[in-house]
């Protein structure tokens, strides 16, 4: 095994082009488990922890450009107000030690359907920026997940950043697990209300082969809120509307039975989480008036 340690982003892209089978490593919270248990013996490890620009965030045309190497701890400490949904999700990741090392870019690279960042990023309609020596491209996160633990990265590409628009309305994140800390989600749900364009964003985790949005639920809720004039009046959310939204979210999932939970529990919990997170978000929206 060779250890590649580029000192700059251009060096990293050159290394990945020269060794497309190199496994990128940042916080190591996924990659090192594979190595420690001898599940994987890559020919090259590509260490991304010496590249400063990966560990910074900045503004890019009104959006937050989050470097792929920013840790969950830093999202919580520095971006709680700008990216509330992602910060909520980050607080549920692992333990303090894991949050100190794990990165949002790593979550995308692993592309596990259970990754905690995905539902929040999907609800916020994030884009991902991929780079190689051939150039840089940005694509919607929905096009990035291609299968269970598979993503749209070409062999010579690395994840550079995630682009997220700061919210115009409330965001929520829910996750079900067997305990509060150190838990891989049984199911998870992210919600964002976008009142400036009367739209709704959702993200489902751990209940389909990939993280996914619940488009029909989004459209149903946005239209129902519009038809009842609720975006303007900010009146109480009718309970049956929240319940119906939960049912739409449940229908968008295609969960399986596995060691962490059954498909039916995942479906049920998603409907409950969707309903509850909508009522919390709506309360936030009403209070913000």
């Amino acid at each position: 095994m060779d250890f590649l340690q580029p000192r700059s982003w251009s060096e990293a892209l050159e290394a990945k082009a020269a060794h497309p089978d190199a496994v990128p490593i940042a916080g190591g919270t996924d990659v090192m488990v594979e190595l420690n248990f001898d599940h994987h013996r890559p020919a090259f490890l590509l260490d991304l922890t010496r590249i400063e620009e990966l560990e910074t965030w900045s503004f890019d045309n009104g959006r937050v450009r989050l470097g792929a190497g920013v840790t969950y701890s830093r999202v919580i400490d520095e971006l709680g107000r700008l990216l509330p949904g992602l910060a909520m999700a980050s607080r549920t990741v692992g333990s303090p030690q894991i949050r100190n090392r794990g990165t949002v870019g790593g979550n995308l690279g692993a592309a596990s359907p259970a990754g905690d960042a995905h539902p929040a990023l999907l609800a916020a309609e994030a884009d991902v920026e991929l780079a190689s020596v051939r150039g840089t491209r940005r694509l919607p996160l929905t096009e990035f997940y291609t299968g269970v633990k598979r993503n749209a990265l070409a062999p010579d590409e690395l994840i550079a950043a995630i682009l997220i628009t700061p919210p115009s309305g409330p965001q929520q994140f829910c996750k079900i697990g067997t305990r509060n800390a150190m838990v891989i989600s049984v199911s998870a749900f992210g919600l964002a209300l976008h009142p400036e364009r009367k739209a709704v964003g959702t993200g489902i985790g751990s209940a389909a082969p990939t993280p996914r949005r619940a488009y029909e639920a989004e459209n149903f809720l946005a239209q129902a809120l519009d038809a009842a004039g609720l975006w303007e009046t900010r009146a109480t959310m009718p309970p049956e509307l929240a319940r119906e939204f939960g049912n739409y979210v449940r229908s968008a999932a295609s969960p399986i039975d596995d060691v962490r939970g059954t498909a039916s529990y995942r479906s049920h919990s998603l409907a409950v989480m969707a309903r509850r997170s909508l009522s919390w978000a709506w309360d936030d929206y009403r209070r913000a008036a």
Binding site: M1, I25, L35, N36, Q97, N100, A181
Partner: protein, 165 residues
């Protein structure tokens, strides 16, 4: 590969390190520092917690090559010539140690909490220790130890910050 790094304030150099091994393995098997414990090797238990550039991490999840020219503090680096660190003494005084396997990780994690927060609330202590598993002593005694250490550190003339690295 050769690893050159700082451990507990001393420059250390080790050769013939396999590129895929963890910082935990380097500490225990190559540097003679067995205080950090190897239990789960997947970041679940916190027994291998160390400081890496001042931040608490699971050393089992850090690749050896990633620590070149970094600053590492292990449980061995917490005590000084005057004796045990107040966090360590509090664990003894409260009976927060039984088999002892989780203790080094809990001591380092509690040390990190008290370096940031002088008087942590119980929820803050629980949250800070959420990544450290104990399977025998029971967490009540461990919580007692952290509270006692916080009180004792606050009573030292320099306050808690003065007694911590």
């Amino acid at each position: 590969m050769r690893i050159t790094t700082t451990v507990n304030g001393a420059r250390r150099e080790v050769d013939d390190v396999w590129e895929g091994e963890s910082l935990l393995y380097v500490l225990r098997e190559r540097m003679g520092l067995p205080g950090s414990k190897n239990a789960c090797e997947q970041g679940e238990c916190g027994s291998c917690t160390v400081y890496l550039d001042g931040i608490l991490v699971c050393s089992c999840l850090v690749a050896a090559g990633q620590v070149c020219d970094r600053d590492i503090v292990t449980v061995e680096g917490l005590s000084d010539q005057q004796g045990l660190h107040p966090v360590q003494q509090a664990f003894i005084d409260c009976g927060a140690v039984q088999c002892g396997f989780c203790t080094p990780g809990l001591v380092v994690t509690a040390h990190g909490l008290l370096a940031r927060t002088e008087h942590p609330t119980d929820p803050e202590i629980r949250e800070a220790l959420a990544g450290n598993l104990c399977r025998c002593t029971g967490y009540e005694k461990i919580l007692d130890a952290v509270r006692l250490a916080a009180d004792r550190l606050a009573d030292t003339p320099a306050g808690s910050a003065g007694r911590l690295r």
